[in-house]
Amino acid sequence: MSEAQLEPNKDNNEKSQNEPNNAKLDHSIFDADIHGQSANMVYLARIFSWLSPHKKLATVSVLLVVTASFIAVLLPVLISRVVVDNIIIGEADLLMPDFGLNTLMTWLATITGLDPIIAACILYGLLTLLCHSFYHLHRVTFAKAILHSLRDMRLDLFRHMEYRPSSFYDKVAVGRVMTRITNDVQALFELLMGLGMLVGEFVPFFIALFIMFAIDVKLTMYLLIAIPIFAFITYFFRMATRRVYRMIRNTVSQLNQNLQENLSGMQVVQLSNRERKNLSVYRVINQKNQKHEIEAIYLETGYGAFMDNMVNMALAVILWFGGGAVIQDAISLGSVILFTQFVDMFIRPIRVLGMQYNVLFRAMASAERIFQALDWHEQVREPVKPAKLPERIAGKLEFRHLSFGYEEQDVLHDVSFTINPGEKLAVVGPTGSGKSTLIRLLGRFYDFDNGTIFLDDNDLNSIPSSEVRKRIGVVLQDFHIFSGSILDNIMLGNPSITREKAIDAARLVNADKFIEALPKGYDTLLVERGQNLSQGERQLLAFARVLAADPEILILDEATASIDTETEQVIQQALKQIMQDRTSILIAHRLQTIAEADRVLVLKNGRVKELGTHEELMAHRGVYYTLNQLQFQDISINPAE
């Protein structure tokens, strides 16, 4: 334990090692990299459960697309059956379906006295307008239903993650949780929108198919042969591209990782003369990427051109067989023209289906990750029968035989002591003595089974964690500053804190001086982690924050970083202010801070070594005495003071 000392610089470097149980982040429980996972019905059903509140909207949307598709199919019918067969050729064959369009046109022509051709034009314009309005409404309602259900899902996910306990975040890299809330939900958006698109493509397909069968079964059958061929080719294309796309994704992410790492370690690269070697490594990956990209170009171009042109090939089929049928008077010429116009409606769904194929796989992997996150149920135990606390409590704390350990190592052993209401207790001890753990347990960040903590004679475990945290205000060493205004950072969204109260709090801790010197005063925006504030200013802000929240008990984990003497004075003043009439526990690093306390508790290796006033402990000449001496030495090491 030669590293256990109070030297400020050191503490920061060692921080990663002081984290509970030295935990290496355990990624294994979050990795859900799925290869070849098929469409999982369970996941789909679960995704749809978020859609159900928007069921009505979704139903309306589907009805709209059916109506719109029906009208869309009528448009070519109007041209072929009404314009060509009826008006131009003059033989409206009654056996062929025209959905009453001829009657409608004739009716329109008679009541308005217009030329039939003009009436047909008007009809065409009206139908187009109607059709595309419906399509538009369908798309908008559908997007709304999807966007709103995924908005809900994202919120649920965020809420869920917000309530996972500290022990959870000890193990999980924040980035992994983040991508689930952001990117993975986005992947589902793509999936659901894609499914919507499929509906929009398949409805007209079936309607067109129905009409085509009604006109000529044989010709339709010939065209239908094309579908399995297309589907087959699409399937093979997707199989081939899946591998290539995966290789591209892999090489691209390798390229990015390599570049990112090279940029982060650029100085080391340059100092080691590794530029040429690294470039050649990068070039090799780049080469591989290029190879796969070009493979993808071959595949995509071949497939794309094939599918584009098969539409035209179908035209030849229609002309040949359909033309023959016209000659035999089996169908009208208009019907052949109708077929040529339907061809596109026939082929598009297959292409769209092919496009959605890859989306589906990616989305399933995302869905798995999202549901995995929602199923992490780790949480701090909440009492079944919560104890009722009065409006304001006295603030007495009692530790009774408390022992605690993280997964692998024991940290606290049989800790017992009492703090009376309004008393100020300084806790000192070398690094790793269990000071921070004490705070974590008091804040109910971890469950503990051995021993008890009493808050005004209530077992801490019988009080809901949110209630505990309202009563016990914790100022952490690395307290977090959120991007937002200074005022936001003091109020932290707590509705019971008014602007006036927040400004008062800032004034009481002497933060008003630096805040008012800022360009926009209390409304000055801070960047994340408050990089535009000095260390001392951030500390004062944290004090203002806790003072505004006005908890009955204050816990302060003093920052170890060195601060100039002047700032130190201001902070000590502020500290006095926030401790006033409040039971306080100070994890102290500075002598001045210890001097503010009524009693001192010395922790070492998780045990209570000494407890008493400063004078008593100095007289005892034990651990506290030694630590105290060290503290003095530290000051002389740092000539700045």
Partner: protein, 594 residues
């Protein structure tokens, strides 16, 4: 837009493939535009009764057979030509992206610390990823699409005019309106999708910040308020998405509705012309197909224009980096002697840009080969700046550094850095094996060399603890080392090079004193007769050095051996007293535990 000309070399490098590709696209358009002609021919044969009612007769068969076969041939030819030319052009885009990636990677390696202060890593990554793909799109996509659109319009119009002058002119009437609407909307869509992207990054930032501060949030019992704040950001993102979606959907609805105007012209005017016998029924039908051909370029103009614009701004961003001149000029000198390790620092001063105060002022000292020099000083006293000047990560404002009596700016950079090795304070390790991290400058090193330096850096036990030994992979996918282990690995990386001048920038800060002692004796062993300079905070480290330099506010305040400085009774002596006291007390603390 002018900046796009800078991409010309990439096209010129493959000018034949490019020209073939583009001309192929023209040929393909002609084949495509011929198809409606054959449909017309077939339909006309049917109406004119050329095809008799007897379907088995050869006349009938020929009347339909010829157009049908012609269509098939056109389709196949068009398909083949399209495939070949598309591939030719698209490959050029990929080649350009490949080359640009290498180029930017290489260029970034030439930049000094000033550049990396100006551009964040995230920004550079974004340029290397997004902007290169934009450039690729311009070279392979926009050029091709533009040619295709022009060819389609020209060829289509040519065929239409040859069929019927009046009907073509009539059909053209609504097209300008369509293209204006398409252009306007694609601009709006571009702006709105920008907002959506911003919304997404707001969302990500919010989540990231919140999760980083989750302990604070929970300590202040603010989970619910945070969820509510998130709900706002989330709602905004959904709203922006919906707005964008309404616009795109509106465009997809408007386009065919406006196009219907042209269709109505064909129906109304065309049918009249057919009745009047001016055009055939086949022409009438063919016009529907040609309209489809024409509408496509009209619709695509808008998106294409934004694609060119985005490509141009991406190209500009990329060349901004590629045009950035490296701060450190490199002299490719021919001969470079093996250094003995003699160092002379003459009137050396350094001032950071935009700062009034000098970080280093008139530093003068000489180091003889084989000497070990310790540099002490407070935070901000200029120690790290001094060290960086030795390897030309920074260029001095005044004065110079001489190695074996040669000014260092006369050396080629790689040769200089080959012989002067600086180990940085922040130990950056690569996601590679432990052994390759140590032998980073030359991965072909023998393992004895690596072990020798690992021994000197007190790293042997750590390495042997891993089952994979030197092959242990570091980083996210492998083992995470502690701060001290990282520092020792970085130290081993410096030691393995056995360079005539080794400079250590506070490399023991995360290492405990005992290990440090171990390392210092290892250092003495392996660096016999080689010059070493090291920065430290601890007197216990500095005392091992032959001489000690004390820096304060950029000036050299003391220099001499440990005993000399102690006798002198200045800054160093005070520090020594304080620190020896500390370590004694620490020992007390250790032993007081029963």
């Amino acid at each position: 837009m002018k900046v796009l000309l800078r991409l010309m070399p990439y096209i010129r490098a493959h000018i034949w493939a490019f020209s073939f590709g583009i001309s192929g696209l023209l040929v393909a358009r002609i084949f495509e535009a011929m198809i409606p002609m054959y449909i017309k021919m077939g339909i006309d044969s049917l109406t004119e009764g050329k095809a008799g009612f007897d379907f088995t007769s050869t006349v009938t068969q020929q009347a339909l057979f010829y157009p049908a076969i012609a269509i098939v041939i056109c389709v196949i030819l068009q398909m083949l030509v399209t495939i070949v030319s598309r591939i030719l052009v698209r490959r050029i885009g990929m080649y350009a992206a490949f080359d640009l990636r290498n180029r930017i990677y290489h260029h970034l390696q030439l930049q000094g610390p000033g550049f990396f202060q100006q551009y964040s890593i995230g920004d550079l990554m974004a340029r290397a990823i997004n902007d290169i793909s934009l450039v690729r799109q311009v070279i392979a996509g926009s050029t091709r699409m533009t040619s295709v659109l022009i060819f389609t319009a020209v060829v289509g119009l040519g065929f239409m005019f040859s069929l019927s002058l009046q009907l073509t002119l009539a059909v053209l009437l609504p097209l300008p309106i369509i293209s204006i609407v398409a252009y306007r909307y694609s601009k709006k869509i571009y702006d709105q999708s920008h907002l959506v992207q911003e919304g997404f990054s707001d969302l990500s930032t919010f989540v990231q910040e919140n999760l980083n501060g989750i302990r604070t949030v929970q300590a202040m019992a603010q989970e619910n308020e945070e969820v509510e704040r998130f709900a706002d950001v989330n709602q905004q993102f959904a709203d922006r998405n919906l707005e964008l979606f309404v616009t795109t959907s509106m465009l997809s609805a408007l386009m065919p509705t406006l196009a219907a105007a042209a269709t109505i012209i064909i129906i109304g005017y065309g049918a009249t012309l057919v009745s009047a016998g001016d055009i055939t029924l086949g022409t009438f039908v063919a016009f529907f197909s040609y309209l489809g051909l024409l509408l496509w370029p009209v619709r695509e103009i808008g998106p294409l224009v934004t694609q060119w614009q985005r490509g141009a701004s991406g190209t500009a961003r990329l060349f901004e980096i590629l045009d950035h001149k490296p701060e450190i000029s490199n002299h490719p000198a021919t001969d470079f002697p093996k250094l003995t390790g003699r160092v002379e620092v003459k009137d050396l001063s350094y001032r950071f840009e935009n700062k009034d105060k000098f970080a280093l002022k008139d530093i003068n000292f000489t180091v003889e080969p084989g000497e070990t020099i310790a540099i002490l000083g407070r935070v901000g006293s200029g120690k790290s700046t001094l060290l960086r000047l030795f390897v030309r990560l920074l260029e001095p404002t005044n004065g110079q550094i001489l190695l074996d009596n040669h000014p260092i700016d006369g050396f080629p950079l790689d040769k200089l850095r080959d012989q002067v090795c600086l180990v940085l304070q922040d130990p950056f390790l690569f996601a590679d094996s432990l052994g390759d991290n140590i032998a980073y400058d030359n991965t072909d090193r023998e393992s004895d060399e690596i072990w020798k330096s690992a021994d000197a850096a007190a790293l042997r036990d750590t390495i042997e603890d891993f089952p994979e030994g030197l092959k242990t992979i570091l980083g996210e996918r492998g083992v995470t080392l502690s701060g001290g282990q990282k520092q020792r690995t970085a130290l081993a990386r410096g030691l393995v090079r056995m360079s005539p001048l080794l400079i250590l920038d506070d490399c023991f800060s995360a290492v405990d004193t005992q290990t440090e002692e171990h390392i210092l004796s290892g250092l003495k062993r392996v660096r016999q007769n080689l010059t070493t300079m090291l920065v430290s905070h601890r007197v216990s480290t500095a005392r091992h050095a032959d001489r000690i330099i004390v820096l304060s506010e950029g000036e050299m305040v003391e220099m001499g051996s440990h005993t000399e400085l102690l006798e002198k009774g200045g800054f160093y002596a005070d520090l020594e007293k304080a620190q020896s006291n500390t370590s004694r007390l620490l020992e007390d603390l250790e032993t007081s535990d029963e």
